[in-house]
């Protein structure tokens, strides 16, 4: 990553499928990964449902794009911050989210979890450290 890389934050606050924002946010993340910037994803409010385990979309006739989140590690996108308070309000725990990992090149390619559940105060600090915030 270059010295003058900017910090990009993608803020995801909407549930998948009911609206297209989650999918079209993911499309930006995929394209953005080629730009060698520092990328962070935030999932809060209903956005936490984007990472829910066991999504089955055959019945609604829409494409299940949840596996794509698991591929993001290969593009150096491995900072997925999920807000704990948002999970709790919705009756969800970290176990209800799919497992997403990446291989850490700085640690002998050890497999590490991409998802980090943080509380609201940590999330607010993460938000305050960005250069560019894209909201979906």
């Amino acid at each position: 990553m270059s010295e003058d890389a900017k910090k990009f934050l993608y803020v995801n606050r909407k549930a998948p499928y009911g609206t297209i924002y989650a999918l079209e946010s993911l499309e930006v993340v995929l394209i953005g990964a080629a730009f060698e910037q520092e990328v962070t994803l935030a999932f809060l409010d209903d956005g936490v449902y984007q990472l829910a385990k066991g999504q089955e979309t055959a019945g609604v006739g829409m494409k299940n794009f949840s596996p794509t989140y698991r591929a993001l590690g290969d593009y150096d996108v491995n900072k997925f911050y999920v807000e704990r308070e948002s999970l709790e309000e919705r009756g969800l725990t970290e176990d209800d989210l799919q497992e997403i990992t990446y291989e850490d090149e700085d640690d002998d390619w050890a497999e590490k979890p991409s998802i980090r559940v943080v509380n609201r105060d940590e999330m607010k600090k993460i938000m305050s450290e960005q250069d560019v915030i894209l909201s979906f």
């Binding site: 499928y17 009911g18 609206t19 297209i20 609604v60 006739g61 829409m62 494409k63």
Partner: protein
Amino acid sequence: MKLAIVVNEGPYTHQASDTALHFTRAALEAGHEIERVFFYHDGVNNATRLTVPPQDDRNLQKEWTELGTTHGLDMVVCIAAAQRRGILDANEAKRQGKDADNIAEGFRISGLGQLIDAGIQADRLVTFGD
């Protein structure tokens, strides 16, 4: 039973069009009659033939057109809402001095009175929106 369907949002952005399509199919399978499908607000955007969704995704305009033509559905696009959003048939394009039109097969453009009329004629009216 006679059902009227109202679709208030465009394809893909909101799930409303998908749900309305699945509902309409299920109603036809159950032997009900569809009095009319009325497209209002951004729902008029379901009627453009210019969409090119990704290969691995559904094509909602085509699905509506196929369902409509197969079952002879009256699929009405509100003229006022359509003009605001750039959905035109050949007649409207000519009347408005536009050099192109974009309406898909199976849809017709008409007035809001068709929504009220659907409410009067149908036994039930169901709205799908944002």
